[in-house]
Amino acid sequence: MPRTLLAALVALVVGGIAPHLASAGHWWMNGSGNVVHLNRGHFPALSFFNNATNGSATALEHARGEWSANFAVDVYNVSGPADITAWDGYWGATGWAGLATPVTNAAGAGTVHPDGHVDSMWVQVNMSYGVGSSYASQKAIGCQEIGHAIGGQLHDGGGCMGFGYFNFDPNVAAARSPTAHDFDHLQHLWGGLH
């Protein structure tokens, strides 16, 4: 390891990055007080099946690529059953434009194992709203929901994890992408699990 990199690592750890990130932690919890998460070890590769057939597949692929390119965990494409499956459809005036839903094989959608782990995650984009005609909205929604599926949480940092809560314009590029805070958060999450 180059000496400069080693020095940087030591400085980060000793200098207090860990407490900083710990205080920023806000996880997706189940009713038992456990973190909801895919069960793939410390530094996993997560398979992703882009099963969107109504027009948002490109935006979802771009969102997947951004998380994967900057995250310590691969989120790689497959064409069948996967850790994360993305769907789109015309679900009507539900109120939601996107969802991330935990799935256990034993009990189906909307369930987690008691220790918080899930067997897979579903990501949905509701094309009934204005998102149907807007790549920007699809990307912001896809980014947030994939972010949730891999463990990200909402925050007011200007990125996609605050879209629809703290920022509302998908035409602002930052609203369609993760932030550095998101990657820090996820690295702590995955580093701490199992």
């Binding site: 038992s32 057939t53 769907w87 939601w96 879209f163």
Partner: protein, 192 residues
């Protein structure tokens, strides 16, 4: 930072946390049950963040008490045109006993749909409608015959201790509270 460089950083960070249990707060083992338990989905909401938006989107605005909450027609995968393998999405059919009408002509009771996520666990920010609870609702005529839908999550205001509550940050709740007492006039004004 290249991924290969992140891995040792993560490893060192994890070790510095003494096995991570304190720093990272990993899931605790739950003794006993192994039966999966319900958990709410996470959501990106379709927002209407101003009073003007919800007032213009609504066709009926009513305040009243929830007197019915029953299984409604699901949103089928076929209707949604979702890829094969996706399940129907459940909905609840809610009946409200109307006490005040601020826009439109309401019958004594109004029925509207409450969509749930796959699996049917209500979303944390849009909880189930409890019988006896009071709600202010901005509704649209987009449901099946004689059944309304809300103008999104920003069209729902639970009434708690006589005050309208918003369900999400940065919504129109403050404006709606400010319009209390002249809501009918404010809605009319916003729609012009």
């Amino acid at each position: 930072m290249p991924r290969i460089a992140l891995l040792p950083l993560l490893a060192v960070t994890a070790l510095s946390a003494g096995g991570s249990s304190v720093l990272f707060g990993p899931p605790a083992e739950v003794a006993g049950s192994t039966t999966p338990v319900p958990v709410a989905s996470h959501v990106t909401w379709q927002r209407m963040t101003s009073f003007r938006e919800i007032a213009r989107a609504a066709e009926l605005v009513v305040e009243g008490t929830v007197v019915g909450n029953e299984e409604g027609p699901p949103i089928t995968a076929k209707t949604a045109k979702a890829a094969a393998g996706f399940p129907d999405i459940p909905q609840r059919l809610i009946t409200l006993s109307v006490e005040s009408t601020y826009l439109g002509d309401a019958a004594r009771t109004v029925r509207f749909l409450h969509s749930l996520p796959p699996g049917g666990t209500p979303l944390e920010e849009d909880p189930a409608y409890r019988l006896g609870s009071r709600e202010l609702l901005f509704l649209r005529d987009e449901g099946p015959e004689s059944v309304w839908v809300r103008t999104g999550i920003d069209g729902r205001f639970p009434v708690v201790n006589g005050e309208f509550q918003g369900l999400l940050p940065n919504g129109p709740a403050d404006e709606v509270r400010a319009a209390r007492g002249s809501l009918r006039e404010k809605i009319k004004e916003a729609r012009q």
